[in-house]
Structure formats: structure tokens, C-alpha cells
Homo-oligomer: 337 residues x 4
Amino acid sequence: MRFFSDNTASICPEILAAVAAANHGLAVGYGDDPWTQRLDEVLGAFFGTEVRAFAVATGTAANSLALATLSPPYGAIYCLTEAHIACDECGAPGFFSAGAQLELMEGEHGKLSAAALAATLDAHPVSVHTVQPAAVSISQATELGTAYRPAEVTALCEVAHTRGLHVHMDGARFANALIYLGCHPGDVTWRAGVDVISFGATKNGALAAEAVVFFNRGLVRDFELRRKRAGHLLSKSRFVSAQLLAYVESGVWRRNAGHANAMARRIGEAAGPRLLHPVEANEVFVALGAAGKASLRAAGFEFYDWGAPASGAARLVAAWDQDERHVEALCAALTAL
Amino acid sequence: MRFFSDNTASICPEILAAVAAANHGLAVGYGDDPWTQRLDEVLGAFFGTEVRAFAVATGTAANSLALATLSPPYGAIYCLTEAHIACDECGAPGFFSAGAQLELMEGEHGKLSAAALAATLDAHPVSVHTVQPAAVSISQATELGTAYRPAEVTALCEVAHTRGLHVHMDGARFANALIYLGCHPGDVTWRAGVDVISFGATKNGALAAEAVVFFNRGLVRDFELRRKRAGHLLSKSRFVSAQLLAYVESGVWRRNAGHANAMARRIGEAAGPRLLHPVEANEVFVALGAAGKASLRAAGFEFYDWGAPASGAARLVAAWDQDERHVEALCAALTAL
Amino acid sequence: MRFFSDNTASICPEILAAVAAANHGLAVGYGDDPWTQRLDEVLGAFFGTEVRAFAVATGTAANSLALATLSPPYGAIYCLTEAHIACDECGAPGFFSAGAQLELMEGEHGKLSAAALAATLDAHPVSVHTVQPAAVSISQATELGTAYRPAEVTALCEVAHTRGLHVHMDGARFANALIYLGCHPGDVTWRAGVDVISFGATKNGALAAEAVVFFNRGLVRDFELRRKRAGHLLSKSRFVSAQLLAYVESGVWRRNAGHANAMARRIGEAAGPRLLHPVEANEVFVALGAAGKASLRAAGFEFYDWGAPASGAARLVAAWDQDERHVEALCAALTAL
Amino acid sequence: MRFFSDNTASICPEILAAVAAANHGLAVGYGDDPWTQRLDEVLGAFFGTEVRAFAVATGTAANSLALATLSPPYGAIYCLTEAHIACDECGAPGFFSAGAQLELMEGEHGKLSAAALAATLDAHPVSVHTVQPAAVSISQATELGTAYRPAEVTALCEVAHTRGLHVHMDGARFANALIYLGCHPGDVTWRAGVDVISFGATKNGALAAEAVVFFNRGLVRDFELRRKRAGHLLSKSRFVSAQLLAYVESGVWRRNAGHANAMARRIGEAAGPRLLHPVEANEVFVALGAAGKASLRAAGFEFYDWGAPASGAARLVAAWDQDERHVEALCAALTAL
């Protein structure tokens, strides 16, 4: 019974069917196909504004290509210590940007606060000797399973923009946040001031498909060249674009994230006082202790430690196709601890 | 009737079926799945030796990651002026290697000769002031639709190895070369001295799958970290690995390349004296002249100019799923010119 | 009366004389001159072991070239939050290494502790998803004007080496630390386990000269190429090498640092309870408060705030040629506060 | 008797005196000193227009920092096969720009022709798959000892600018070209359309000083940050700036280059029909043959082969302080061959 990560999930039927449906005849490669050419329109409709959207196959590529577009090599990118870009991408932002430096900040429940950002930026010396503040990157849903409210994003973006920084959103689990918030996709992105989002579909049912969506279209300038140069422009682009179109147009983003969130909520409720962060998406962080973790693992539950093994904390992730019976079993086991 | 490129092709049924077959249940991400864990064994069996094999989604990624493993940032990589890595990857080798310099050489019919390589390397000054010769990269099949013979590869590798350089093979169309040569895959790779090959499947029937296969396993050291860091480690790795397994194990590599080569051969025969290079794979280069090109295009044939439009040369590529009737029509049109 | 930094200082007469003395006739460029060819021997004698030594013109170049030699692009380099490489070099380590990530740690009085380093390294997950621990960089004298004892360096190096990391020492003010410690240069470097030191002379009386000294000569492999490639191999190398030779052989390193340290000590004593860190080199950190800073500045003393202006802290640096009367005036002013 | 290179030369007395004259008291570091603050004005007066000028210590730094400012990482930089940036800087442009690709062209007598550049640029495919034409770099004097006429530079710049490229001039021997041309410095730079020049002083009498002079001041934006980040902002900047001020204001640039050119002209006349290129600066290229080279070397003349040793060609360089008697001896030996 696996609660490792939502990237252990399968492809949802509608998306695999869309790949198969795109598989007829010859299509011009590298994006000049009818599927890819609909991306801007379809994602623009989803977000409720004009966008430029680019498909890539991984979240690391989406995040790092976006950040390399926002930051010069001597730029500073502000994010939380637990950000995926800081912890889980083997230094990819530094690679894609040719050396931009991540400035790690602390937050509560996975959220960077506008006040902390303002204080940090205002204390940054103005000089040729330091890296130059260039961008802020936040995750939505956050790395700790919570969701920024529209007002929180708005406040962050205002702090950033008034100081000349751009804002990137790592939306690997954006659908999960939307389900919880119940708001329009635009409310926590462009209306709040986000310049570009890595809009993930892979974790939520795609084979391998992420869209980099630019609301600030003036920034697109060099993105396409960076993507090609990094080997992230797929030759048979139709098959990644078809996944994204199906993900958005068929509404599976909503159904899949809805199931994952519901499963996580039940786990969170079963965890009771052991819960470390509010459950607002599909991840649950629980203080189990060494004995608790051992007990669950002995009962067949698979999951990762969170932080150092000695901390006693664990992360439990519900996938879009998480078996409800496994969740029930987990909840029972948690309650019994 | 499209003869643009083999990347306009569809996914062959066996490979799409393999993706669907892998789509059940949860599988651990990032390569710790049963499909990915068979890659070394299955590709080792194909090549007839022990290998380390890594899946990526694009040929540019395969080539550049391999070259970044072979060359330091101050390295020189020798290749032909028409090499894909030089012309069609937006400078990707320079990006992945942090600045290695391509040294462009001339060849006949798409082949780098051992003698030319030796002469160039031996004339390279030994000094801290120049880039340092590090690697040679050749394409098999070549960019001009020909195939290196085993002895040619052996001679090149000997020149390279005796001077301390490693050898990379861009095998985006490796299956097509094998079909023509009729030799064992090992004969033009590791037995001839090749250190690492980008073994392509995408053009020949996969959705998006290329294997970087290391024969020189001592070189693998940092490849895995570079791949992750570049966003080329897919989270749902099973789906790219399943494509590669099906490609090799089912034998579709042979059937697909066989069809494409046969179609190209017929086009080449119809081209007669207009043929610019021997047809030894699935690409045909033809001197059509402006009038010839216009005439074919008016008749509904789509293809790219080769070189400057004014040169009158054209490239005609046969895909694995190229419609035989379109080929017949093209042959008739060529004959009629 | 300037207490900004020791880089405001002039060139000491012996070093300028050495430049003039080297200025006769033609000398082969790029290091094949008699001065440069004595560097290994003279610096080896200074440190009491065989070394490979390379001259460069700036401390940022020395540090970053050394670190790029120690760390792959996907490496992590551990240092303190206040390290010069983290705060004052505009991201140079990330540039020279093609993206290595600085991991910032906290220390007391400018020192990284072996225990903190061990804890951090042992908590670092072993995975392809994270940057890979590669090197530790410490400053001697520290950025807060203190000096690591030999046993402290030994303990740090042991933690690093047993975990496969190399150790770099930023010795921009190494002479100042030596004067305070009264130990042999080898005691806090190679005997303690340091692999490479940026041995600064500029702040302590040179025109522009720093030596990168490798005790671990196996690491030299690509340093020379990186230096050339970065534009840090001077064509008229004799003039930078001559500075370093004079600095070491004439003993001015000792006299100059001795004066600077003595001046700083007097300032520190005058600061009394306002002193923030022990004065063990030529920098003094003082809690002055807004009023105190304003009062000193009104009296003609020039110095930088330390940290945010609101913090009330100031840094006072004594140069090798600091006018003793200015120091006396400053001491009087501090006492009067 | 050394004719290796003009970088074997000494420091001319006026420049060393200027360094000594700047050596009094404390001066604020990193460029905020009175010498550095006069650079724009003094170099602007020299070139006859408003400029932004930045001092660095090496020509490789000057060239590569300038080019990194002109070209994105995915840019193409056009230059001749024998360009210093292509042959003698260990790939520095690729390092500083994070991967820009040099596009090597052929020229006559060291000159890139406007027609060849136009043809090459116009044949460059417009596509995301290729590097993007960004800059042209020419050397003045050229690498073969000739000098571009103002009209030649104007024609090149027009070709470049109308196609959106910037133009960089490697002026390591700019003074030598000016002496030959007898024109105003502005005539072959900004009036002809050059955007930025690496204006060398080191070869022509400085200790280590080159100015990067921007005529197109809109490009300066990120140069300062790149310089700092690359370790090329000297802390005691006054001493490099003082060299440049003395070089220009005292007129030694003219006297020194005049002597070197005169010496080279005499060598060229003695070489007679063996001369390979017109002598328009201070370098002489001569077809000596193996016997001729051996004979000269046996007579005590030191010089480098030009190209492969077997080619029989040699390069003879006259420095600003070249001993006239050595030149007379060389001329006699050449005549006697």
C-alpha cells in the first residue's frame, strides 16, 4: 500500500486515450502540430486570460526553464528552505540559469509570507558585490500540503513587483490547491500577480506533461530558445500537448485532484493531533515517532520519512488513483496508534 | 504527402501497447520501477555486452548529456559541420557541458574520416591557451543518410583513443544504419571502440524515448546527476522505459527501420543521377533545382530544402509508417522530372 | 580617517620595488618566466611542504577557481552565512563551477564548528535528487575577525574528509591570522588537512596578487585550464609573481599584518563592552548604535555598517598602513562614547 | 633576441611611474577611487564621444566579458578562424556567456569581409533549432598584422546591425593599428559602428591593464555585474585605472606603438618576398621554411612557428621596447637567407 508520492500513480484513462487519439498520420514535429497550436487558447481559457503556454515533460524542466527566463546568471531567487527547487532538483535552477543563487527563507506551514519577503529584500545591500534580487518562487499547493489564499499570493506579488522581482509559481500540485480553495485558477495566479506558473499534470494523471504558462508574455522572449537548447522541446510534441489538452478540457484535473484531496483529508482526520500541517491538498505530514512509523511499515504501508529519520515525521501522499481501501486501512492503523 | 522528417511519424502500435500495459497500479518513481530496472539487461543483450543504459525523452538530451559526461567545460568536441549537435540543437552541447567548444570538420557523404581526424588532432597545439581535445561525436546513420562501416568506426575510435579522446555516437537513426549494414549492433559500437551511444527510438516508432548506452561504464559516474539536474529524469520513468523495452524486445526496431529504409531506397532509385549521397538509411538527398522543387511541391509533396534554398537540394525522409502509395507517387514524380 | 577596509590600503614599498625590479628586458609570458617558476618553491618553503601555487589578481578569482576545481557543477559547498564567497562575490562560485550550490550554515564568532558540519552532512539525503556534498570553505582569519585554532581546522577537515569532501580555506587575511596564532603556516593548513588555500597578499600590501596554493596536488589537474579560460592567467605574469615572492621572502607579510593587528587590538580595547567578537586579526566589530555611529562619522571616521544599518553594528578595519594617529583618535572617540 | 610576442615586453617607465604616483594614502576600493572615476572622461576624450569604460587586467577577460554582454547563452558569435577568442583563450567566450557558440569564418590577410559576413548571416536558418546570431568580433590590428580601414569596419558593422547583431572589436593591438592608419580613434570604432572595444594597453607598455569601452552605452547594463562575478573587479582599482590614464593621457600609446610598428616594418622589408601578409602593425608573418627557421634560431632569434611547424611559417613580433640592434640583426639574417 503505497503512499510514497503522487508520481507513483498511473496515467488516467482519458489522458492515455488522448495520446492514442493523436496517434494517426504524420504531424509536423517540434510544436507545429494542431495539438500544440491549441495550447495557448485552451490554457488561456482555463486561466481566464491570454497566455503563452509551453509543454515540457518534467516539473524540474518547467521550474528551471521558467526561472532561467526570470533571472540573470547573477540573480537571486527567493524561496523556502523546503522548496522543491531547493531540495529535490539537484541544483537545476543553478544549471539552467548559469549560476543564479537560491536564497532560502523560512515560512510557516510551507508558506512564504509577504512580510518576511519584504524584510529580506529590504535588507539586501544594493551593490555590485552581491547577487541581484531577481525572482520569487512559491509552490501552490505548498511543499507541506497547504494552499496559499489569493490574498496571500497578491501580497507576495506586490512585495516582489514593487522591488523589481518577478514571481514564479511551482504548480506541480496546482489542481490540488484549486480544489481546496474553490476559486478560479486566475484568482491565485495572474490576478494575484503571478508572472509564470509551472502547471503540473504528471502527478495528477498525465504520462509526462507540464505546461509552463506565461501570464507576463513579455517574458517569453528567450524561453523557447532555452527550452530547445535544454533538450526539452519534444520532437513529437503532439503527444505531450494532447495530454495537456485532455487534462484541462475533459475536466479530469478536477476529478483526479478531488479524489486525491479527499483521500488525504481522511488520512489527516485519522491522524488527529499527530497532524503537523493543515491538509489542504493531497499530502499529509504526521508526527509518528519511530515506533509509529515502524508499526505502519510492518502493516504494509509504504511512505517516506519527512526530514531526518530521527525526527519521527512522515509524509503520506494520496495519488489521483489511490485505492480507497488502502486509505481506509491506513486511517484505521493511524487511529489505532 | 509528408517527407519532412521521421519525427512526423506516429507511435507504432506495439510501443503504444507497451505504454498501456505498464499503466497499472502504483510504481515507484524516478527509475526505481521494474521496467527501468530491466534496461541495462535488455540493452546489454541487444548490444551483446554489459552496458549501463539511461532513458531520456529527446535526442538532444541524450546527445548533450552524453557529451557533457565526456568533455570538461574546457574541452573540444570534434564533429562534422553538418552534425545534428552542431546545427540543430541550439547550442545544447555548450549548455550541458558549461562551454565545451565544437570543432567542426568536413567529411565526405556525411562521414568523418580517421585520417582527417588524426591530422586535425595532431595539429592541435598542446597548451593551456586552447580548448583541450576531449571527444569525438559521429552520427550513425550519418546526417546525409549513409552508414559508417565497422572498419571506419574502428579506425576513428583508434585515432581518438590513442590521443586520449572518447567517442560518442549519435544514433538517432541507429536502427536504420543497422538494417543497411546487416551487422550486429556491437560491431559498429563497442567492438569498434565507441564509448557511449545515443540510441534513438523516437524517430523509429516510439512516443518519446532515447537510451543513452554506456559501453565504457567508467564514464557513468556523473551522468545520472547531470540527467536529474537537467530535468531529464522522468518521474514516471516506467513509461519511457517501457517504450525502449518494447522497441528492442519486440523487434519493431527492425521492422520499422526496414520499411523506412526500403521506402528511401525506392526514392533514391527514382532520383537516379540527381542523387547526392548513397541511400543507406531512410534519408534521400536530391539535387532538384528550383524548378524541380516547385514542381514536386505543387504536386503535394512536402519536404525541406537542404542547405540554402538557392542550392536546389532537397532532403526527403521516409518514416517508419510512410505510406507506400505516397512513395510510389513521389517516385513517379521524380522520374518524370 | 578611513577604516572602511584593508583593500583601501596602498602598496607597500618592498612589493612595489619588487615589481620595478622585475621590469627589465623581455620575459616569456603566461608564467614561463623566472619569477613565476619560483612560486612553488617559495610558497612550499613558506608552508613547509611541497605545493603547487598559482598566482591570480583577485581574491574572488582565487576562491572561485579553487572551488570550481573542488566541486562538480552539481556539488554543494558548505560555508557560513557571512562567508565572503556567499555575500560579496556576486555569486562567483556558482559562475565558475557552472552552478554548484552554496549551503549556508550558522557559526559562532565567524567559525564553522566540526560538530555542526558533521550534523549537517549526516542529515543530507543520499539521492540523485539533491546536490552532492563536495567541499567546505572556511575563512582564516574569519569574516568576523577571529582566527581558527589548528585543532579547530583539524576537526573540521576530519569531518569533511571522512565524508568525501575537500576543504578550501579563504585566506584573504591569512597573514593576520598567523600573526595572532603565532603558529607555523602549515599548522592551520595542510597539517590540519586543508586541501587548498587562497593565500591573499593584496589586502596586506600587494598591488593585486593572490596565490592559490594546492597542498593536495592531485587536485591541480584542471585548475590551470580553468584559470586561463576565466581570463585569470596574466600575460605579464612576472609582475604578479614578483609581488608574491617579495611578500613572502622579504617578510613584509609579517610586518604588515603585525601592524594591522596591533592597530585593531587597540581599537578593540577601546571599544570595551561594545565589542561583538574577539579581535584576533585586523577587523573590529562594534555595537555602536545609531547615535554612536553618527557621532563617530561626524568626527571624521569612515567605516561601513555591519549588517542592516538599523542593527547599530559597525565594522572597523585596520590596514597594514593604517595611520597610528588615526587609530589613536578613533580609540579616544570610542572611549568617549 | 626575443620576437615571441609583445607580451614579453616590460612596463614602460611612464606607466610604472603612474602606478607609483597613485600609491599614497587610502583609496576606496572597487572603483570608487579618483583614478577610476576619470576613466569614462579620459577614454571618452580619446575616442571623441561619450563612453562607459571599465578596467580589467587581461585581454581574455576584456573580450569575454564584452561578448557575454552582447550575446545570450544561445547566441552565435561570428569571427575568423584565427581570432584570438577562438584559438588562444581556452574557450573563454563559451565560459563567460554560458555557452555561446563561435562561428568560424575565413578571411584574407586576417580580415573578415562584409560580403562574407552578409552571405553567412543570410544563409543562417531562422529557427529555434539553431544558435541565434548575436555578435560579430573582429580584431584591430588583425591577428595577421594588418589593419582594417574605416570603410571596411563601417561595411561590416552595417551588415551586422541591419541584421540585429552587435559588433565587438578586439583591440589588443589597437594602438598599433591606429599608428598605421593615421586616423582618429573614433574613425575605426564608434563612427564606423563598433559597439564595444577591448582596448588593450598591456602589450603596448602597461603592467596589466585593458579597458572595455562601450560606445553603445545601452549595453552596459549587466557588464558590471558580470565583471564582479568573474573576479575581474580589482579591489585596488586605482592601480589598474592609473595605468590606463597614463597610457592615454601621456601619449605613450602613440610612442610605444610607433616604435613597435617601425621595427616590424623593417623586419617586413627585410623579409621581402617571404612576407605572407602586409605589415600594418607590429607583427610580421614570414615563410621561412624549416631550414630558414632553424638557421635563424641557431643565430639566437627566438620566435614562434605560425600554424603547424611543418608549414614553414613563422610569426615575428616587435614589442614596444624591442631592442633596435636585435631588429637590425634579424633583418640582416633575413636578408642573408
